[in-house]
């Protein structure tokens, strides 16, 4: 697991107040929404803020979100390709 994957899991747990969850409990390919982690629409907005705040990535097309926020793997891939910090 890359540092970015671990960093993302830590940020998600902290930002989304998943207090009962440990980094080791989130699988890299687990769905973040729906029957995976069970995140909701407000969490999606928080993830958009997280991308901008931590990696300088501003999502211009909201429809991209569905693909990017599918799992930790898809988020990490997108960040690696688009990060400005």
């Amino acid at each position: 697991m890359s540092d970015l994957h671990t960093e993302l899991k830590k940020s998600i747990i902290e930002q989304l107040n998943l207090e009962d969850m440990e980094v080791s409990e989130i699988e890299n390919d687990e769905h973040l929404f729906g029957d995976g982690l069970g995140l909701d629409s407000i969490d999606a907005l928080e993830l958009i803020v997280l991308l901008e705040k931590d990696y300088g990535i501003k999502l211009t097309d909201p429809n991209q979100g569905k693909e990017i926020f599918n799992s930790i793997n898809t988020m990490a891939d997108f960040i690696e390709k688009n990060r400005v910090r």
Binding site: N17, E19, G38, D43, E46, V49, K53
Partner: protein, 201 residues
């Protein structure tokens, strides 16, 4: 026509302590930060509701108060909610305002109304009932009595949960009670003040 109503349960959360029907059921060390105090109650009550951690502190107080008041079980889904406070959602409004300088927080924004607490309680217990959140300068028994009587008289509810849930500047004052047509102490201004005041002064 005036009808007789009864207070069948009450909960007070004040000064790092939780009382149910006058009995101390939880106590934390004094001066604990509010988030830790709230989490302490949650753990002590052995509650399992991950959404709790996403709520703002005001909603956490309301949620915890209702779980304790009802033993985490509201069977009558028409149970009405009448809540009030004096500070509205100011604590969260201020926290949200602070985030606006950089990245406004969506998860704080959704709690910038006090009646969101009633939504949280209704979602938790799948209530499809009447509810209202009032803002008044101080705890006013007459306000609750008038609204409750109205709901019973119009047969809109057979049970009502009332709550004074106030939080501002890290000071909290939480008092909840359950009203039914019979089975407890009389629901009137005098009894309500007696229940509210003992640990308040």
């Amino acid at each position: 026509m005036s009808i007789e109503l009864s207070i069948i349960n009450s909960v007070t959360i004040r000064d790092s302590k939780v009382y149910k029907n006058g009995q101390l059921i939880f106590k934390s060390e004094p001066d604990l930060v509010i988030s830790k105090f709230l989490k302490g109650i949650y753990r002590d009550q052995n509650l399992k509701y991950p959404k709790f951690f996403k709520m703002d502190s005001l909603s956490k107080f309301g949620y915890l108060g209702v779980e304790i008041l009802t033993n985490a079980n509201i069977q009558d889904k028409e149970t009405a909610l009448i809540f009030a406070n004096s500070a509205s959602s100011l604590e969260t409004d201020e926290a949200y305002a602070r985030t606006m300088a950089e990245f406004p927080s969506p998860s704080l924004f959704v709690y910038t109304l006090p009646n969101i607490m009633l939504g949280e309680i209704s979602i938790r217990h799948q209530l499809r009932s009447e509810n209202i959140f009032l803002v008044s300068e101080a705890f006013d028994p007459a306000l609750f009595i008038d609204y409750s009587r109205g709901l019973f008289q119009q047969e809109k509810a057979d049970k009502v949960l009332c709550g004074w849930v106030n939080l501002h500047n890290n000071e909290y004052d939480v008092f909840l009670w359950e009203i039914a047509r019979s089975g407890g102490i009389d629901f009137n201004e005098e009894e309500l003040k007696k229940l509210y005041l003992p640990t308040h002064e």
